[in-house]
């Protein structure tokens, strides 16, 4: 076994919106059930979810000096043929030296990204948006979320891998043809029976390699709910972990649950991770004394609490199942590739420029200072992590938007700079002059198959 890198930092991102199962039941005339699922907004995709999780993982600055390796796992890649991890790399403002790769297509990519990052060091970004046919269990029990984990040889890891094992078998439990909106499954009992021996085998070997008989916490993820329940029973935990009410989040599921467990774990606890997806992967981590100092600043549970319900028709519209009548405006142009490449650090990294002569901040970056007119005396002014205040705003009911009305605000950044930005996760009642906002990476719209990624402002949840 190759020496493992330690876990240096982690973060989770759970979208703001929830679909209540009761709403689903009411809309479809089915039996209403308790609970809810998380829903990515119309302007979020797995890439943007991944960026948000990665930003949270790196918020402590624990990633200083890492080599920029990114493993991105999702079952719902925004692009095929084109790597999606590169947009995440760019949004994190990591420059051009580094490695970014997708592990896209199947849920097993999630644990795959984790294991790869453990081995080589780097950031595992797990993000997913789960869909299903209207009325299906997949639609109801799925969830949209992301999590990111930074592994490296840093001096103070918050957890270290102490054992892992894998099992692989070829059997048809769940599948989806590329481009289809919903997956299909074989008879549930067949998958369950196929998984169980693999889970028991891999779990036992991982514990053995870790030199323990039972883990303090056990985190189980599987597209087969029945398998997940059986695995939890086979490997009981000493300490129960409270998991956010997200739903099964595909390639991000294991990550979201691990992040939630890390939010709660104490130093020197053992965590057994079991992913049962087309085989089984089991990993044992031991937390360290550094964990309490480096917990995620936004625990999964608090993100889960600050939710806003969506109507079922809205959910279907956001996922493209319903095509609603759009405002009578032309669709926006697709972004041009050369222009987007030239403005990579602005469009993806949200880096403006600051005049070295007079200090004025420009967003977007410019060569000529609007204050002192100095030419080419600019330095980088990263703005993605700056909060701002709304100077004035409007609700645009005429503009083309995938989810009208569009809200736009003039945002003045703390420390200088101003930019007119769309608001995300907001309704008109959330906004007034003076409202505090933070930046969030989003997909403005898609035209001609090209996703237009850029930053939006989001009202700060607790008004800090």
């Amino acid at each position: 076994m190759t020496p493992m890198n330690g876990l240096l930092a982690y973060g989770a991102y759970i979208p703001r919106h929830r679909l209540q199962h009761a709403e689903l039941g009411a809309a479809l005339g089915t039996r209403p059930a308790p609970g809810s699922r998380s829903v990515a907004s119309y302007d979020e995709d797995t890439t943007s979810l991944g960026v948000e999780a990665a930003r949270r993982a790196l918020a402590h600055g624990g990633g200083d000096g890492w080599d920029g390796f990114i493993y991105f796992a999702t079952t719902a890649p925004a692009y095929a043929d084109k790597t999606n991890a590169t947009a995440i790399h760019a949004a994190l403002d990591l420059g051009h030296r580094g490695f970014a790769v997708d592990l896209a297509g199947a849920a097993r990519g999630g644990v795959g990204a984790l294991r790869a990052a453990m081995t080589t060091g780097g950031l595992a970004v797990l993000a997913d948006i789960r869909t299903g046919r209207p009325g299906s269990a997949d639609e109801r029990d799925g969830g949209d979320a992301a999590a990111a984990f930074l592994f490296g040889e840093g001096a103070e890891p918050i957890a270290v891998p102490i054992g892992q094992a894998a099992a692989t078998a070829e059997f048809l439990d769940r599948w989806r043809a590329p481009g289809e909106a919903a997956s299909s499954g074989w008879e549930e009992r067949f998958g369950f029976e196929s998984y169980l021996p693999l889970v028991k085998d891999a779990g036992a070997r991982a514990l053995e390699r870790a030199g323990i008989e039972q883990a303090d916490r056990v985190i189980v993820s599987s597209p087969s709910a029945r398998t997940a329940a059986a695995a939890a029973k086979a490997f009981p935990a000493r300490i129960p972990s409270e998991l956010p009410a997200v739903g099964y989040a595909g390639a991000a599921d294991l990550g979201v649950k691990l992040a939630a467990a890390l939010d709660q774990a104490e130093p020197d606890e053992t965590l057994l991770l079991i992913s049962a997806a087309d085989g089984c992967d089991a990993v044992v981590l031991r937390t360290t004394a550094a964990l309490p100092r480096c917990r995620a600043t936004e625990p999964a549970s608090t993100q889960s609490a600050a939710a806003r319900d969506v109507a079922y028709a809205t959910f279907l519209t956001w996922r493209g199942v319903i095509e609603r009548e759009a405002p009578r405006r032309p669709e926006p142009d697709r972004p041009a590739a050369p222009a987007s490449a030239r403005s990579e650090s602005w469009k993806f990294g949200f880096v403006g420029s600051r005049c070295t002569e007079c200090g004025r901040v420009h967003a977007p970056p410019t060569r000529v200072c609007s204050g002192c007119h100095a030419v080419d005396h600019m330095e980088r002014a990263p703005l993605a992590d700056k909060a701002g205040t709304i100077a004035t705003y409007t609700v645009d009911r005429l503009a083309f938007s995938p989810s009208p009305p569009m809200i736009d605000a003039v945002v003045d950044f703390d420390g200088g700079g101003r930019c007119t930005l769309e608001l995300a996760d907001a309704v008109p009642e959330d906004v007034e002059i003076g409202t505090r906002v933070e930046m969030t990476f989003r997909r403005l719209y898609t035209t001609g198959g090209v996703h237009n990624y850029f930053w939006k402002a989001r009202p700060v949840r607790n008004g800090q």
């Binding site: 142009d333 041009a336 222009a339 609007s370 645009d396 569009m406 003039v410 101003r418």
Partner: protein, 398 residues
Amino acid sequence: MASNGIRDRVAIVGMGCTPFGEHWDRSTDDLLIDATEQCFASTPSITAADVDAYWLGTMSSGQSGLVLSRPLRLDYKPVTRVENFCATGSEAFRNACYAVASGAYDRVMAVGVEKLKDSGYSGLVRSNSPSDGTAPENSLTAPAAFSLLDPAYCKKYDVDPADMREAMTHVAWKNHANGAKNPRAQFRKEVPKEKIASSPIVAGRLGVFDCSGVSDGSACALIVRAEEALDYTDRPMYVKGVAMVAGPASGTIDPAYDYTTFPEVAHCAADAYRQAGVTDPRTEISLAEVHDCFTPTEIVLMEDLGFSERGASWHDVLEGRFDLGGDLLAVNPDGGLKSFGHPVGASGLRMLFENWLQFRGEAGERQLDDPRLGLTHNLGGRPGTCVSFVAIVGRELG
């Protein structure tokens, strides 16, 4: 200031202006022919062949001088097509004035045209250059951009939003009332204030009636040296000042800009007044045709053009001081963009046309008593990033 001005150097001796509206049955070519023929009909001593050079303003109805030379079948004339956002028509006029003032030509025509209603959309649609897709201008609509003025103005001057709403309503009501008296206007009906105030919301607090319409139209002006003006008409209109400003577009990136003013307009107006020798615009200007693209725009413009004190225009508007017969000056006596719509290339020349009619005593029901100096104004772009044009014209020399 850096402009020398051309006060009383050139004069308009003929004009034409089509009705503005949804001309489903008229092409761009038709509109250009209609406007120019009307002008030539009023100045029988000049034909199209006698005009030495043409300046054509259009934003989106075609490119190059051929847009004019082809339908008019002009024989080998210099025709220049210009574009400067919503000041496009005025820009054609300004350049035509300079062409005569410089001595390069004796007779020059400025023509503006826009055929908007063929686009299939109810608002202005403009094509953007290929971009990285991050500029808010690519998504935020014009009414939304101008609606940003409303909350900012209320906040800065502590104006009750209900009072501001009433002032916005008054602007629309006034301009529609004026337009009802104008046979060339697109909308020729008075609109009750209740209907304006409760119209469907478009952006921010702007309802449908807070927005100018979209229409097709064309207008033109024939310009000669001032000393030869009386050879062509007994009632020429003299050009006192023409000023144009393209701003640094820093308002949208500079927190110091507060969205309650258009600094571009203030700079531009100061230049035009200086050229024209106007020191107190409130008393010296008889009528002002201003760019009322949206009702809050007109409110803010009253301050930038020096007709109201800062923070006071909403009140002056509400008191009816800019109405026809108001105690200050008539603003948009022809009905403005509100009643005419805004065929971009034509609007600036349409504004001059109202001055032309007023000075000649041909404004019918809208006729002002003894107008002497008039102003036209265009704003192109949006708050924080725009161009501005101001012209001062007069009935007499000196």
